[in-house]
């Protein structure tokens, strides 16, 4: 339930905000909510698998954030803006 609320909040933020940093932060919230769901399920059935899955989610989030922030830096250097609507010229 809490995981669902957090996930929908992150999704809303992803759709609403137009700043690339905010988009990345919303992605963080969504991944965190997914991990929370895993841990809750693992605690419910007394299994360690939930926490292991959370560890994998954690590692993936770390890699994703590193690459994403490097991309943000490169985009800012090139376009001098972080607005997603202005960056929609990636065609042809």
């Amino acid at each position: 339930m809490l995981a669902g609320i957090l996930f929908s909040l992150g999704l809303t933020g992803l759709l609403v905000r137009r700043n690339l940093i905010f988009v990345l932060m919303s992605l963080e919230v969504m991944l965190n909510a997914a991990g929370l769901a895993f841990v809750v399920a693992g605690a419910r059935w007394h299994q360690a698998d939930g926490q292991i899955m959370f560890l994998f989610v954690l590692a993936m989030a770390a890699a994703e954030v590193a690459v994403g922030l490097a991309l943000v830096l490169e985009i800012y250097r090139r376009f001098k803006s972080l607005d997603v609507d202005q960056l929609s010229e990636m065609r042809g």
Partner: protein
């Protein structure tokens, strides 16, 4: 225990909502940290103390430092000092401070109280470790490969070409030629430099 779970969950949700409605990136980062701490307390209540510690260390520590660094690198402007002065007004940090204070009080009361967890038994770190390096060994390997790929990708994307200029004095090679390969005598015939 139920109450602690609901308080921590409410703090996490409230701070996430406040994070999404901030206009400034750094304020949003403060609320995001509080949200992650709230989720960590939820983990602790659920009996997964190891994962709660990892959440605090990796998410609220490492990833937030990455975000702060990028915000710092993006915000190089002449108005930075003035902005700093505006950010230090109490209205900015009171909200995250209050939410984090609620979490601290809750954690202290939890640690001093009973250690029974909500919804079943505690899944300790030993059990997690045995399962992690037993049947999930291939997952660990895949995660390490993913982290390596992320490292190399981030380095490649963040690489900026630096122009290196080598300072060459006009008599750099002359003295070496005169000395005939003797490195002790190299440069001996150079005129003495006046500071």
């Amino acid at each position: 225990m139920e109450l602690a779970f609901y308080i921590a969950g409410a703090v996490a949700v409230i701070s996430t909502v406040l994070m999404l409605t901030r206009l400034n990136v750094v304020h949003a980062l403060l609320y995001l940290i509080v949200s992650l701490l709230g989720v960590a307390v939820v983990f602790y209540v659920l009996g997964a103390a190891f994962v709660a510690a990892l959440e605090v260390i990796i998410y609220a520590g490492a990833i937030m430092v990455l975000f702060v660094f990028v915000v710092m690198m993006l915000n190089l402007g002449a108005s930075a000092v003035e902005m700093e002065r505006r950010w230090l007004t109490p209205g900015i940090w009171v909200g995250p401070a209050v939410l984090a204070g609620i979490l601290i009080i809750e954690v202290i009361s939890l640690v001093r109280g009973s250690t029974a967890s909500l919804g079943g038994g505690v899944v300790g770190p030993k059990q997690v470790g045995i399962a992690l390096f037993g049947p999930y060994l291939i997952g660990v390997e895949l995660a390490s490969v993913l982290l390596l790929a992320g490292l190399v990708g981030a380095y490649h994307l963040g690489y900026r070409k630096v122009e290196k200029t080598e300072i060459q004095h006009d008599d750099t090679h002359k003295g070496r030629a005169v000395a005939g390969g003797d490195l002790v005598l190299a440069g001996a015939d150079r005129p003495a430099r006046t500071p």
